[in-house]
């Protein structure tokens, strides 16, 4: 294998090959279709049951039905709940025009048309967030111990027998996913159920998901399916449906876990345009080199010249 720019940034066809697996299974991932998420949180529980995670505290957060708050070392799935006005629908069905004439008298009702009580422009979005298993994973790149590694499935996994809790990955992740567990000292995040994959099982969350909002499979297939789903939704007038993390040309080379969203990513607590820090590694090292050279030059130069003794 040769090391090339693609290993650090941009589209990368064969992530597992790039990680040194000469023979490997297809890259797998999650497609989370939030348009069918019912917010039941089965994913959160199934994940904890399988991975034997500790609870995350018992605090009422007052954020709709979300009492998990965010992904953490102990919560590898997080369902977001967003209550908001619904966008207007161009394809809204004609109303009075095709109404059946009841032959009944109609009249204005007291209070009719004041807006509030007849409001229908409201919606409740739900979305199950998870580690993105980036093509270029900030956490993996910065890990100094090799605890974080790319598996043969193209996923990104922390090896708990290796991690020494340096915490670098926490700041390396542009999605704010991975975190260090306080009483344990190590970093934890979704493994896409690495142990299950090896046995041909699907990850616990995807298996439990009642409405198939979380779909697991070969990434290429999921991307195809997702594009079709968006087209279907657009046809039905849900024009705000869009994919997030699906594009191999994005700042992380595309996510192994991507989403169909119904609003801007930041509304769900996701960064609008994340970039793997490694993109700029070359220029950072170059600048550091210049600074080091200047530092060295200064250090040498201070010994020359007349001393004010």
């Amino acid at each position: 294998m040769t090391v090339s720019r693609e290993s650090f940034y941009g589209p990368l066809d064969d992530v597992s090959g790039d990680a040194g697996y000469t023979e490997h299974p297809e890259r797998v991932g999650f497609f989370t279709d939030t348009s069918v998420c019912i917010g039941c949180k089965a994913c959160e529980v199934a994940c904890k049951e399988w991975n034997l995670l500790p609870d995350d505290g018992f605090d009422l957060l007052g954020m709709s039905f979300d009492n998990t708050g965010e992904l953490s070392a102990n919560s590898w799935r997080h369902v977001a709940f967003i209550e908001q006005p619904a966008p207007p629908r161009e394809s809204a069905p004609a109303r009075e025009a095709d109404a059946v004439d009841l032959g009944l008298p109609s009249f204005d009702l007291p209070g009719a048309g004041t807006g509030e009580e007849t409001r229908t422009d409201f919606r409740w979005l739900m979305s199950s967030d998870v580690c993105k298993h980036c093509t270029h994973a900030g956490c993996l790149d910065v890990c100094p111990t090799g605890a974080l590694f790319r598996t043969e499935f193209g996923t990104v996994v922390v090896q708990d027998d290796i991690c020494n809790g340096c915490g670098y990955c926490v700041s390396g992740c542009p999605y704010g996913v991975i975190d260090r567990r306080e009483d344990d000292g190590r970093a934890w995040k979704c493994t896409m159920c690495y142990d299950r994959l090896g046995d041909g099982l699907e990850p616990a969350c995807a298996k439990a998901c009642p409405t198939d909002s979380i779909q697991f499979g070969p990434l290429d297939e999921l991307r195809e399916r997702a594009r079709e789903r968006v087209a279907t939704l657009h046809d039905r007038g849900i024009t705000e449906a869009r994919l997030y993390g699906e594009d191999p040309n994005d700042g992380v080379g595309g996510d192994g876990a991507f989403f169909l969203l119904l609003d801007e990513p930041e509304v769900y607590g996701l960064p609008p345009d994340p970039v793997v820090p490694t993109r700029d590694a070359g220029s950072m090292w170059a600048r550091a080199g210049v600074a080091a050279a200047a530092f060295a030059a200064t250090a040498v130069s201070v010994f020359f010249g007349r001393s004010r003794r």
Binding site: S64, F81, C143, I178, A288, F295
Partner: protein, 332 residues
Amino acid sequence: MSRSLGRMSADAAQQRTAPAAASDAASDGDFRSYYGRRVLKEPVWEWLVPAYLFTGGLSAACAELAAGADLTRRPRLRKATRLGALGGLGASTYLLIADLGRPERFHHMLRVAKPSSPMSVGTWLLVAYGPGVGAAAVAEVLPSRLRRTWLGKLLGALARPAGLASAALAPGVASYTAVLLSHTAVPAWNEARDRLPFVFAGSAAAAGGGFGMVCAPVDEAEPARRLAAVGAVTELVTSRQLDERLGIVSEAYRTGKAHRLRQWSEYLTAGGALASLLAGRSRTAGVVSGLALLAGSALQRFGIFEAGVESTRDPKYVVVPQRRRVDRGEQA
């Protein structure tokens, strides 16, 4: 964890009468977020890491001064800075290990050599840098009775090449920590990636110079003073750029705790540099200005660290620049 969640939610609740306005929570301007919550995780590092940034820089600058002092025959400056380099390295090592969640596994750092990880690069750099610093310092303090043994003699002979070797690596040690911070998703650090190496190199030089001024007699401390002055000026100039040239992220440097720390840093560094120029041959003045420079360097590191932490707490530092980029159709 639970306490911080509670606090976050309380904040969110205060922003609105109804939580339903999740998408409209914004403290300034028109950005949207999830209940005003952070997007990124705060760095898990505490004071140990900025302290390490300081001690690492100090060690590197000392190593440089020590090598120079060795070659220019300034024995007391050499001794002080060789010990300073080792002390700084020792402190660095301690701080790095103590900051680990599983300190007993520190040696796992040596499992891999990852060019993509500044911490891995730094680890191997320190591995290369450390023996030279150690040998030179030990040679300096070897009791006279041991100097006569073959080991003592060997050390004596190795001291200079060891010192020079470490000096050769020291610029890397002084500047790599900038990459260590910048090579993260933390907006205040990442956005500062072009400038941070110079701030850190300057800060290291100022600290090393200040250390030399404190520990070495005035007549040997001239290079230290010069190094301190150049370092301090570099630090002051580049540090100001962080306040001004990083777009919205500069706000993280200009406000709050980061701002207070860095303001004090600026006062101390500027004052220390000025004093070193004006102090003349006063040892006391030299010591005071050296201490000021050391403190200024340390506060700079803490200030930059704080700015990074703050830039992960408030979602605007993440959302606003990225949203702008997307809206303009720019490539990331």
